[in-house]
């Protein structure tokens, strides 16, 4: 932990390439504002070739830790790379991709460096004292907190799609190969298999037709599928339908996927604050609910008080007719 101003530069790390590029976009902006360097870190095996891509997306310098032992993410091994690098070079800011692996990695890095960590920052800025300020959703979606750092390095984690991926430029940078000395992993991988998820990522959907507890039977998803196909969208749900009823494997909301489609149609979905936190950035929100008091109407652009079993098929028919 350090309170001195010796810490310099912004670092970006994520094992997810897309997320690393998104953070480089934001990182470049902050680095230019602070007149400092933007560096990226790549950890893996046979990954040296990827450094030039990160430079095109804004990195001044790319540290590469390349070793067969690092072919797959392992938190003890990856942590020791980041820790040794940070101890030697004292960065001011470290942005870590807030993935299932990245967030615990950032938490442990912050602990080992005896510094603070602000997770899941959807916005980042620098205040008049040069401190990093992160904005994050808290209290289950009831509030947006603005959080600043007291210690350095300032470690923030950044969720996927919080920032736009920048346009690649024809720029070059410096590649630094790291001498790798890692600690022995404390956990052993037994098996890895692809998750059975819906064919497409819900975060990438242009339109989402989503249902809540108002959907009475699993088979009735077909109604939503039909509407989704008309609006070129995907079907999703609120948490209870996935976690409690097990009708879906994924859901939208604070604890599930955070989405920002052009169109979000909430059917029979009450709109608890945790769900709303996951759809806040949608362009247009439509609510269909029998209960005129449902909170979803408060955050909808268009609201229909009615039975989803009547409205959804009728909307599908109407759109089909008008768009023909």
């Amino acid at each position: 932990m350090s309170l001195l101003n010796e810490n310099k530069g912004i670092w970006v790390y994520s094992e997810s390439r897309d997320l690393a590029l998104e953070m480089l976009g934001k990182g470049r902006e902050l680095a230019d504002q602070m007149k400092t360097q933007l560096n990226a870190i790549i950890i893996g095996h046979d990954v040296q070739g990827e450094a030039s891509e990160l430079m095109k997306y804004g990195a001044d310098k790319v540290y590469v830790a390349d070793d067969p032992l690092m072919a797959r993410f392992q938190s003890d091994v990856y942590l020791s790379v980041l820790y040794n690098l940070a101890i030697n070079h004292k960065p001011n800011i470290i942005l870590v991709g807030s993935t299932k692996n990245g967030k615990p990695l950032a938490a442990r890095l912050a602990t080992r460096l005896e510094t603070g960590c602000v997770p899941d920052c959807n916005r980042l800025s620098v205040d008049e004292n040069g401190r990093l300020v992160g904005e994050r959703i808290t209290y289950g979606g009831n509030a947006i907190a603005r959080v600043a750092f007291i210690t350095k390095p300032q470690i923030a984690t950044v969720p996927a799609r919080a920032f736009e991926k920048p346009e690649p430029q024809s720029r070059q940078g410096q590649l630094v190969k790291l001498e790798v000395k890692t600690e022995t992993p404390k956990t052993e991988l037994v098996e890895a298999k692809p998750l059975q998820t819906s064919s497409a990522r819900i975060e990438e959907a242009e339109a989402i037709v989503s249902c809540g507890r108002g959907l009475a039977r699993k088979e009735d998803k077909a109604l939503l599928d039909e509407l989704a196909s008309i609006v070129h969208g995907q079907v999703s749900c609120s948490r209870p339908l996935a976690e409690d009823r097990k009708w879906f494997t994924e859901w939208v909301g604070l604890s599930g996927h955070k989405v920002k489609p052009k169109l979000y149609i909430a059917c029979g979905l009450s709109g608890v604050i945790q769900h709303v936190a996951g759809i806040r950035d949608s362009k247009v929100i439509v609510a269909i609910n029998k209960d005129p008091e449902a909170p979803i109407f408060e955050i909808a652009d268009y609201g229909v008080v009615g039975d989803l079993y009547e409205i959804v098929p009728a909307l599908k028919d109407a759109l089909e007719k008008m768009m023909r």
């Binding site: 997810s16 938490a107 959080v147 404390k186 956990t187 604050i273 909808a300 009547e310 028919d317 759109l319």
Partner: protein, 288 residues
């Protein structure tokens, strides 16, 4: 021999001779970290200032931590001789919340009272909980929720693992114990991985892992006899300078949601649907 009796015998073991005797007995101890979280579904907002009204807001065991507790109890139901203890840091009296945990089946609850310190962040919280775990003594597993209901940071579990130099497995949705090993399945973004480690270890669990039980009246009555141990920061020899916050919340305000809030009505379902379809086409959000 009842569990209760056995447990008391074992505690005597610990105090007289730590470590060695423990290995002779097969007792496993699981520490479940429980956060007393603000019930976010009951939070109110001051409309004029957008400030949250947190004073007096009802609190409960953070949902994810409840899954961790349920999992610990299930492990005890499967294996013989497992003791499940809960660990909470709180600035107020969390007894009513902990009674629920004891009623679900925890054997004993530990509370660290931090009322004398303002603004503990995840770094300070993890430090206190790690020191408390050390004071509890031998343990095989620490289970935490993947994140917390109110602050939703998801850092404390990993920070504790780091402080105690424990192997950690995060986002666990299924686990099994065999001898000294714990094997856990984690759900990542695009894949699931199964990871194995030697205990003692720290695991954070997701809500998918189980459905926490609702205690019966009998269990609630039994819980009133169970012990709640309260420690102060001094009991844990906490160094105050290490509790200094490393981050600072500048403000936390209710988000502004500016939406059109147009109610669409009509004589028939068809009329409503057509009006809505028209609006969506005008918005340019349907079709390609």
């Amino acid at each position: 021999m009842s569990r209760q009796t056995f447990y008391i015998l074992t505690v005597t073991f610990y105090s007289s001779n730590q470590g060695n005797l423990f290995e002779l007995s097969d007792l496993k101890r699981i520490i479940v970290c429980l956060k007393q979280a603000v019930d976010v579904t009951q939070l109110k907002v001051d409309v004029a200032t957008r400030q949250l009204i947190t004073t007096g807001a009802p609190k409960k065991i953070s949902d994810f931590d409840k899954n961790a507790l349920e999992e610990a109890i299930r492990i005890r139901e499967k294996l013989a001789d497992v003791e499940v203890v809960t660990l909470t840091m709180s600035s107020e009296d969390p007894k009513t919340v902990l009674r629920e945990a004891l009623a679900m089946g925890a054997d004993k609850a530990y509370v660290v009272n931090n009322a004398e310190v303002e603004n503990t962040d995840t770094s300070g919280t993890a430090y206190v909980l790690a020191e408390a775990a050390r004071k509890i003594g031998q343990f095989d597993l620490i289970l935490c929720g993947e994140t917390s209901l109110d602050s939703f940071s998801g850092l404390v579990g990993s920070r504790i693992a780091e402080l105690l130099k424990l192997p950690q497995i995060t986002s666990v949705r299924k686990l099994s114990i065999e001898g000294d090993n714990v094997t856990a399945e984690r759900a990542l973004e695009d894949e699931s991985e199964t990871v194995k480690t030697k205990m003692p270890a720290l695991l954070t669990v997701t809500r998918e892992i189980n459905q926490p039980r609702i205690p019966s009246l009998m269990m609630i009555m039994k819980a009133s006899k169970k012990e709640i141990v309260t420690w102060t920061l001094a009991d844990l020899q906490i160094q105050r300078e290490k509790l200094a916050p490393k981050i600072e919340v500048i403000e936390a305000l209710a988000p502004k949601m500016e939406r059109k809030k147009v109610k669409i009505t009509g004589e028939t379902v068809q009329e409503v649907a057509e009006k809505l379809a028209k609006a969506l086409i005008q918005e340019g959000v349907v079709g390609r």
